[in-house]
Each structure stands twice: as C-alpha cells, then as structure tokens.
C-alpha cells in the first residue's frame, strides 16, 4: 500500500525562532488516524501547513497523492485532496451565509452553481446540519461553527483530513458530537490535539513532536 502523504527529511525554521522541524520523516496511509501531539510551539501547526504548501519547506521532500510536490501549483491539487480544518473556525468561515461557505470549495473546484449548491446541501445533511443553509455565519455558536467548517472541508470530497485542534473551546456536547462524526468518517486523518481523551477515542497511531523531531509513540510510551 502506498502512502497518501509522505515526507522525507522535512526541514523548517523560522527567522527568529530557529529550527522547528529537523529532518522529519512521516507517512500517512489510507485508513489511518494519526494523532500529532507535542508541547505548545513545538511546530505541529507548522508541520500541517508545510504538508499543504501554505509554508514552503526549507529542505526535504513532500510526496502527496503519488507525486512529488514542490511548487505552489503542485500544492493546489494537494489542497483540494487534503481538507484542512483550522484551529479557529472564525478564520475559516469567511462567507456571509452557511450555504455559500460550504459551496465555496466545490465552486473553486470547477463545479457549476447548481452542482455546488446540491453538494453543499447534501454535505450539511450528512452531518445533521440541515436547516442551517441560510444562517449567517457570524451568528453561529462555537460548536455549530466547528461543524460547518467540517462540512465546508468535506464538501470538497477530500481523501485526507488535517485537523488542527478540532475540539478546542467546544463544550462537552459539541465535542461528543464532533467525535461521533469523525469516528464515522472513512478518511485518513492527522489530528493535532492536547485533549488526550479525544485522541484516545479517535486515533489509531500517535506521533509526538519533540525538539523538532517526530517520535513514534508506542502503546508503552503512551501509557507512561
């Protein structure tokens, strides 16, 4: 089986901060749900940004969906296939209404207006969010915003989901709802979170970012 996303010797540093990723090797296979943990500022978000080309790696290679990705234009396709859920839902819901927001991705992928609308409606329905189509995005609650961003990402029919602290600032019910939804999805995922219980229920494998290195956590290390 080939990896969906694979990095070799991935290297990144920030001007003032120094090296955050030092020769990182990582692979994501179909069906896997990888938990990515690490201290604040370890570079987890940076790592996901590199995978979809929002930041340019300073060294190493990124293979995604069967091809080596180097240039901005290589990554356009990666972004269509890897749905990225941002840490703050407010950053991701930029359209005035829910329907427009969810249809934004499909429209950019070249779907016609009617197609995009019907995809958006279906996706919302599949997440149990029907009836939200005409709601104004900035009037939603935190949990609702999170579900809508998930719908917006799923509407692009990605192969992989990259989730940056998805359960952040959600209350118990909203968190449970998100957990149930994610468990039911067949996608390969990388999940950043500080919420151990959430990760325990969701992930199939854990890696931890320490001192710019990705360390595979085995059952034994997790238990400690």
């Amino acid at each position: 089986m080939t990896a969906l996303i694979e990095t070799r010797d991935l290297f990144y540093r920030y001007p003032r901060r120094g090296v955050v990723l030092d020769k990182v090797d990582f692979s994501l296979y179909p069906g896997e749900r990888v938990a990515l943990t690490g201290a604040n500022g370890a570079g987890k978000t940076t790592f996901l940004h590199l995978l979809v080309g929002l930041k340019k790696a300073k060294g190493g290679e990124i293979h995604a969906f069967g091809q080596l990705r180097k240039e901005e234009k290589d990554f356009v396709e990666v972004r269509a296939k890897a749905g990225f859920l941002f840490q703050d839902p407010d950053d991701q819901l930029f359209c005035p209404t829910v329907l427009e927001d969810v249809a934004f991705g499909p429209l950019n992928l070249g779907r016609s207006r009617t197609e995009a609308i019907s995809i958006a409606r279906d996706t919302l329905a599949s997440l149990g969010m029907e009836g939200f189509e005409d709601r104004i995005t900035h009037q939603l609650s935190g949990g609702e915003k999170r579900m809508i961003t998930l719908a917006a990402v799923l509407a692009m029919d990605p192969d992989v989901l990259l989730l940056d602290e998805p359960s952040n600032a959600l209350d118990r019910d909203a968190r449970q709802r998100l957990l149930d939804t994610l468990q039911a999805l067949p996608h390969a995922m990388i999940i950043i979170s500080h919420d151990d219980d959430f990760l325990a229920q969701l992930s199939t494998r854990r890696v931890c970012l320490v001192d710019a290195q990705l360390i595979e956590e085995t059952e034994a290390t997790v238990a400690v």
């Binding site: 929002l54 749905g83 990225f84 005035p96 934004f104 950019n108 207006r113 104004i136 900035h138 917006a152």
Partner: protein
C-alpha cells in the same frame, strides 16, 4: 460615533435578531435601497415647507410600518440631531434678513431660522427613512442588493468581509478593554491614557492583520482562485411592483408640490 452607540456597536449582530418581520421586509431589498435613495434625493432637493413636512411624516409612517424599536431609533435620531444642533443654532445669527429676536445683542433672522428648520426636517426625514427601509435588512442582504445594483464586486465583498469580522473583532476589543479595566485603568485626560489606548488600537490591528493572514490561508486551502460567489435569490414579486408604482407616483407628487 456617539458614545452610547458603543454597546450596540460592539455586540453588533446585524439588525435582524431582535427585529420583527414587517410589511417592509416583504419588499425586494434592491427596491428598498433604490427607494430610499430617490426619497432622499427628492427631500433634499425640495425647498417647500409643506413638502418637507410630508416627507418627515412619510418617514415616521415608514418607521411605524417597519416596526422599528422606538427607543433605539429615538436615541439614534437624537444623536444625529445633537450633532447638527450647533450648526442650526448658529444659522439664524449668521444669515442676514428680517430680525425676529435677538440674544445678547445678536440679531436672529427669520431667513436663518427657516433655513435651519429646513435642514433639520430634511436630515431627520432622510435618516428615519434610511433606518426603516434599509437599516432593517441584515447587512449581508444589503451587500447582496448592492451587488445586484451593479456596485463593483470588490466593494461588495469588502463590505461583506467587514460585516463578517466586525463581531469577531468587536469581541476581541471588548476583552482587551476589560482586561485593561481589570488592571485599574481609568480613562483620563493624560498621556498615559492616550499611549495606552494607542497601544490597544495598535495591538488590535496586529491581531486583525494576523487573522487576515490566517483567513487568506484558509481560502487557499479551499481552492480559492480569485473569485467570490454570491448565492441569493432576488426576484421581484407582485407587491414589489405595487410598491414601485405607488412609490413613483408619490415621489412625483412630492416633486410636483415644489412647483405649486
């Protein structure tokens, strides 16, 4: 903006939330914008007292029809009047003409007084009409109708972006402001206050700029390629045509009255 609008401003969620549906809401938003514009045009260019009084009466009627929140509207209108008042008070004394009365040796002229009351009538009529006809739609709808009225695309999307993030940034501002208050900060007339407020604004801008960078990233991730899309349906219905005809006749009549 006047101070007491601050609250309604920062927790701004558009006008829709507390607003009851009304007759005016059943009209096409484009029509409402155009109607408000034409009304303003007719009222502002009229010089007859009768016309202006009818104009103000119409605005009051519209405010009733739109079920405007009485207290809130009154506060806003008074805020505007306070702003003009100084202009209006001065006019009678600076316009030459027939002396009506005098204050502290300064003569007040009849012409000046008339001019001042005309300005007051016009300004109030226009603002009331604007608040009841356009101000009762959600800001998003206003954006859509501007797009349909061929306002440039970029301007419309700029408006929609601004509206989208007003609340987010308003909350951010409020939290920072509260945190300052919690450290015993009190507004005074001194340099410490001004420096602190300058820092607050600067920090708010830095946060906003960084947020906009994250939004741009999020847009890229969703395949953004330089186009935005609007999805709204605006179709003129029967009541719109009725309103159009009646409105046109009414405005024509108002204009005509000027020449009687």
């Amino acid at each position: 903006m006047p101070q007491f609008l601050e609250h309604s401003g920062t927790s701004w969620k558009g006008q829709r939330l507390k607003h009851e549906q009304s007759l005016i809401d059943s009209l096409d938003p484009r029509l409402r914008v155009v109607a408000a514009f034409l009304f303003a045009l007719v009222v502002v260019s009229s010089e007859q007292f009768l016309v202006l009084l009818i104009g103000l009466a119409t605005s009051l009627l519209l405010a009733r029809l739109a079920k405007l929140n009485f207290k809130r509207t009154l506060r806003r209108v008074i805020a505007m009047d306070m702003f003009m008042i100084f202009l209006i008070i001065m006019l009678p004394f600076t316009t030459p003409g027939e002396v009506l009365f005098s204050v502290a040796g300064l003569p007040a002229s009849k012409e000046g007084l008339l001019h001042a009351s005309k300005i007051a009538l016009k300004a109030n009529a226009v603002v009331l009409c604007l608040l009841s006809v356009v101000g009762t739609m959600s800001a998003t709808t206003l954006g859509y109708s501007m797009a349909r009225l061929r306002v440039p695309d970029k301007l419309v999307h700029l408006l929609l972006f601004t509206v989208r993030y007003l609340d987010v940034i308003g909350q951010e501002y409020k939290r920072m402001r509260r945190a300052m208050q919690a450290r015993a900060f009190v507004l005074r007339t001194d340099r410490h206050t001004w420096r602190s407020i300058g820092y607050l604004i600067g920090m708010l801008l830095v946060h906003s700029l960084e947020r906009s960078e994250r939004i741009a990233d999020a847009m890229k991730c969703r395949g953004y390629n330089g186009r935005f899309y609007l999805m709204d349906e605006m179709v003129l219905a029967r009541q719109d045509y009725t309103f159009m005809v009646m409105g046109a006749l009414f405005l024509a009549a108002l204009t005509g009255l000027n020449f009687l």
